[in-house]
């Protein structure tokens, strides 16, 4: 997995996204630190000029380093990076070239993971350090005193690596780039999204939320949702266990990803899914989820309860269910392989 050729190959096919990640972090850490300091100075100047109270916010300072727009952009960019490393190979003949090389598939997968992880970790370290130095040497550096390195540095970094590992794992199941991206987003929010749709179903039928275990259900669902990790870092610092969950998650995803990549059925490259046996599961899953979403949306259009709202729920449910069935059937039988000479 430390083979020079694989590093060259991985960089070659993903370099655009590598430098996009570099720029995202450049803007979000050092530039953001500079503009936040400038904004705070300007706010103080204005508050003196117009005689009003202004207290710089520690939360504002912490958000330079974690959460918010950075998390959102990193989720999108790491997923695209993962899809350029695996998915795009399956759309083209590059996969043939990669698999014909004298390397174990395990090493090919681990080289991709290590490449992406090192890109994320090294750029993050570099820009974080620059941003941290800029802000801590400003007049507002004291604002960072209430935050530790776990919530400012380690937790966001691990959460980005977790999302990347997750998207790379999805790449071992998906048959091509677009399905890898789409499935990464769907399964990245799946536990929370599905829980919301199920509660929506019960609400529409006159049910109400009963928290038998004092809200542990919500906590559990959030912890199972990969995309929740890049946005919440205070809990991580306070309780510690989300940090361990992220590390376990990354390890499980590497292990499962390696195992599945090893068994890649190249003959299904370009199809929505690489594992044909999953087609019925996905067909049923897609239809149920979109039907629930349809019911959730149409019933949400009416604020009053009763049979009319229930009727609307089922109209939405059946309409979305029908169309998602027709689209999913086509989706699962498509093949997006580019075969140029």
């Amino acid at each position: 997995m430390f083979h020079k050729a694989l590093w060259m190959q991985n960089y070659k096919q993903s370099k655009l996204m590598v430098w996009v990640i570099f720029v995202i972090m450049l803007f979000h850490f050092p530039f953001n630190a500079m503009t936040t300091v400038a904004n705070m100075e300007e706010q103080i100047r204005l508050s003196v000029l117009h005689s009003y109270d202004y207290t710089p916010s520690g939360l504002h300072a912490a958000n330079i380093f974690n959460g918010g727009a950075l998390s959102l952009m990193m989720i999108v960019s790491t997923i695209i990076l993962a899809s350029l490393l695996i998915g795009v190979e399956r759309n083209t003949r590059r996969n043939d070239f990669t698999f014909s090389l004298p390397f174990k598939r395990r090493d090919l997968f681990l080289a991709k993971w290590l490449f992406g992880t090192l890109v994320i970790a090294s750029f993050h370290l570099f820009h974080f350090t620059l941003g941290y130095v800029v802000f801590s040497f400003s007049d507002f550096g004291y604002l960072l005193n209430e935050y530790g390195m776990i919530e400012l540095y380690l937790s966001p970094l691990l959460s980005f690596i977790l999302v990347f590992s997750f998207a790379l794992f999805i790449g071992t199941v998906a048959g091509e780039m677009i399905s890898q991206v789409v499935l990464s987003f769907i399964f990245g929010i799946f536990p929370t999204g599905f829980f919301m749709l199920i509660t929506g179903f019960f609400y529409a039928h006159g049910g109400r939320a009963i928290y038998t275990y004092q809200g542990i259900e919500d906590e559990l669902v959030a912890r199972l949702t990969v995309f929740s990790y890049p946005f919440v870092h205070t809990d991580t610092a306070e309780q510690g266990y989300p940090l361990i969950l992220m590390i376990i998650g990354i390890m499980v995803l590497i292990y499962a990803g390696t195992a599945l990549y090893n068994r890649s059925r190249v003959e299904h490259n370009g199809e929505f899914l690489l594992i044909k046996e999953l087609h019925p599961v996905f067909l049923v899953g897609i239809v149920i989820c979109f039907a629930l979403l349809g019911g959730f949306i149409t019933s949400g259009l009416f604020s009053w309860s009763g049979s009319f709202r229930l009727g609307m729920y089922w109209i939405g449910y059946l309409t979305f269910g029908l169309f998602s069935y027709l689209i999913a059937k086509r989706l699962l039988s498509m093949n997006l392989t580019v075969r140029n000479r």
């Binding site: 083979h3 020079k4 050729a5 060259m8 190959q9 070659k12 096919q13 083209t92 003949r93 590059r94 996969n95 043939d96 070239f97 698999f99 014909s100 090389l101 004298p102 390397f103 174990k104 598939r105 068994r263 059925r265 190249v266 003959e267 044909k276 580019v338 075969r339 140029n340 000479r341």
Partner: protein, 291 residues
């Protein structure tokens, strides 16, 4: 290279069934079969791109699937250079040098010069013929013992094609390289190949050296007083017919066929030279063969 009982099923359909053969050092093996017979699938299995459902491919006693490092001796040249299109020639040389320990850069430049190939900033800037030539040049420069080619001359002009074929034969003769070629160009294979593997609907029809294969059949031109007698038809393959002039392919082992032809007292009986195309037509599909 030993190919042992390769079977491949895709979507529950067996596309290759029990293919076995051995590639001897310094030989050229032609793989022929009709469109969709499973030739490309076989080549992809031989290079470890695709896993077989059953069977194994061994090089120097080691399975390429369990010990892929033995593939340092195998280079696959697909029918498209699309995977390489964004690389520059220099980048590709660097990449190949790090993958194939015996990559010969001096020989690479010598071949580039011989074929008048200039360095390119991107392989996709080369013309179709130049791309095919470049793929072969890099393959030769790896000094791999086995070169696997999928339709290497498809779409190339005659001059480029000749140069490629000549270089291939020189490589095999001079460097003891073994070449496996899947091609529809039977005339080219006949010019180069020592051995021929015929695949018919995923099954191994035969694997012989070309001369043995040709000696199994004879091509005869016959003219009868009337049309071809019905009792002969089940024993021969009709290669072509012009009026009452028939060209027949006859299995040399089928004495009954010869007896019946001569028994019908033909006005003309003349044996013609067999070529690979005749064998292809006979074995794989009669008049409606695809070439």
């Amino acid at each position: 290279m030993i190919v042992e009982q390769i079977t491949k099923s895709i979507n529950g359909k067996t596309v290759l069934d029990n293919i076995s053969f051995e590639v001897k050092p310094g030989s050229i093996v032609g793989i022929i079969g009709r469109n969709g017979a499973g030739k490309t699938t076989l080549l992809r299995i031989l290079t470890g791109i695709m896993d077989p459902t059953a069977g194994d491919v061994q090089i120097k006693g080691k399975s390429i699937f369990k010990s892929p490092e033995v593939k340092q001796d195998v280079i696959f040249v697909p029918d498209s250079s699309e995977a390489m299109k964004n690389y520059s020639t220099r980048e590709l040389v660097r990449l190949y040098k790090s993958v194939y320990p015996r990559f010969d850069e001096v020989y690479f430049h010598e071949l580039m010069e011989r074929f008048n190939l200039s360095e390119a900033k991107k392989i996709k800037n080369y013309s179709k013929g130049m791309k095919a030539l470049f793929s072969l040049v890099t393959a030769f420069a790896t000094r791999a013992e086995y070169i696997i080619l999928d339709e290497p001359t498809d779409g190339l002009d005659v001059i480029v094609k000749r140069r490629i074929l000549r270089t291939l034969v020189e490589e095999v003769a001079g460097n003891n390289v073994s070449v496996l070629i899947s091609s529809h160009r039977l005339d080219e294979l006949e010019y180069m190949a020592n051995d021929v593997l015929i695949i018919k609907e995923g099954l191994q029809d035969s694997y012989y050296d070309l001369d043995t294969l040709k000696s199994q059949y004879k091509k005869v031109q016959v003219v009868f007083k009337g049309y071809l007698p019905e009792d002969i038809k089940p024993h021969v393959s009709i290669h072509s017919q012009t009026g009452r002039v028939y060209t027949l392919i006859v299995d040399r082992g089928n004495e009954e066929a010869d007896k019946r032809i001569r028994g019908a007292e033909p006005l003309l009986y003349e044996e013609l030279a067999m070529n690979l195309e005749d064998i292809f037509v006979t074995k794989l599909g009669g008049d409606e063969f695809v070439s």
